[in-house]
Amino acid sequence: MRRRFSRGQLRFIAPGRVRFLLVALAVFAASVLYAQYQRTPPDFGESYSFPTPTHPEPDSAWIHSLDILMLVAGLGLAAWLVLKRRSRNGVMMLSIGALAYFGFYRKGCICPIGAIQNVTLCLADSSYLISIGVIAFFFLPLVAALLFGRVFCSGVCPLGALQDMVLLWPKKVPQKLDRALRWLPYVYLALAVMFAGWGLHMKLGSWEIRAARRFLICEWDPFIGLFRLSGPFYMLAIGAGLILLGMFFGRPYCRWLCPYGGILSLLSRFSWKNVQITPDKELDCGLCAEACPYGAIRELRADRATCLSCARCYDSCPRHHELRKEALVQVKPS
């Protein structure tokens, strides 16, 4: 889809001129319509020149294009690192890079999780418009999930990257509890969609609730307070709590709260390529299942719905290391 970059290009070609034109147009329009009050101001004589009011411009168009580019590159790189290169270190490096760029540099906004709301609102109300960036951020990770599994979660999502980084001493969650908690993202998704598209109108006899449209996901985002280094206390508290939890129970937000993760897990069930822990033979040693902090290995296979493609299982597979050593031996001329 060709994006209309005309405004961005104009700014490159004649930045000062366009801005002056807009200001002149605004002043002209104002002076025509405010006939009684806004004519030429008095000339103060001497050397006074009107200060030009500064209007710092928002991020130019090209940074949003750069974001999309980085997203595509990140998804592609994650897919390659997880499926082809099978490198835990590579995925970790990528996730640190994603945390730095999408998290701290772009301050975590706009993200695919929030994009659910924009898409809902645009579909629910035809008077709303949407930007290309939001469309790209919503759909590209879904396409990647259909192709390669949850590679977005592995190396591109800054929230996931942060939780992955603080994972200190992973404990296993009992499977029944895990399965129960895995319903929560869909509840959150339903609430977020309802509030983003329609708000809440509920009548129970004489008792009525009316709530306007809100972006719940944005208002309850756990880590955006950290990325901005500013925020209301409740958001910071929830974020700190999830970090604390994440030190022991790997990626709690990703597994049990993230609404976009809920959508991704539905789609990645049918992915074209998925994580194959052992490169060829299965040893039935079960070391991968021990190593996986997210409980995503079922019957010694990666469960496509819950596997977050973190590549830790490769690190623990003896067959993977044997093949690596053999490859090294072959290369060395000894």
Partner: protein, 374 residues
Amino acid sequence: MEPPGKNADTYTVRDRFRKSWLPIAAAVGAFAGFVSAAFQLRPDAKPVSGGAPRAAEPFAPQQSSGQPTLDYELQYSKSVVIGPPGSAHQFQRSLLGVAVGPKDEIYVLGEDEIKVFDSGGGFLRSWKVLQGAYCFTVTADGRVYVGALGKIEIYNRVGIWSGGFPAGEADKPAAITALKIFRNEVLAADADARYIRRFDQNGRQLGVIGIRNNTGNFMLPNRWLDFDIDSNGLVTATDTGRHLVTAWALDGSPVSSFGKFGMTDPAHFVGCCNPVNLALTPDGKVVTAEKMVARVKVYEPGGRLMAVIGPENFDPACTHIYLAVDSTGRILAADPVRRTITGFSQANKVGRSQPLTSEASPMDSQKREEFNIL
């Protein structure tokens, strides 16, 4: 986490932390970030401290509420209202000026039209004028001069356009905010150039009034200059930035001035730029209108306050109250927010207000009906 084959017993706690330096560092960093965000420790997170000197004794202007005006020498009461909501000739969009014509007829400029009412408020006739008209005046024989940006247009007494001339220079058109006719001269207030221009009937500029000031012309922060001229040719003009009512001779020499800023004394002018409008009564008294505290006051020529028509009569959002005075001394005040024209006639000194009828002549029954329709 541990590579396979390594004996778990020999794996000490220190080894574990050596391997886990990254998650520990990340967690510590994250907590530090949350704490600093909670306590707003970023350098640009707080404004530079330093408050402003607060007033020692704050007080509010005294006379803004509906205080009775029994203290003043003159009392005024409403005698006619033109254009209230629901009336047949209500102004829908704008109201820009009022003037008195021959036989004390009330001329009103609004939404590109001039409407003429008789002194009792009965509608007589109306006609369209040019778009963008700011002000107008009526001669003794009923001709109407309308001022707009850069030009003055003339209409005859039945409303046919009968001429006009440009005002100001091509690159600096005159923003004409008040017009008065004196003998065979046309005086136009130019709010952009900030002086009053004098033209002859053909549009040739004869001179200017208002440039012999200390620091250049009238000060008009609200971009509006209003004036009136009496039968002797003395021009009384508003100098809103200086809170002055100034008097000039026709040749431009300053004669006198009065007025000062003040929020409490009713004789002073409130706010940043007042008085916004001005008119002269036939006996030489000065009627001023103010904004912010929307009121109309009557002064003696020397500056002594004679009467106050309080803010309860006007909409508080008014930025102007256009004024005109008819031959009986009745003050016509046009409220552009409510889009009504109210006539205030002098009441008895004792304070008893007259009934709501015109003072000019006893109304016959037909006129009274017209008034009721309004």
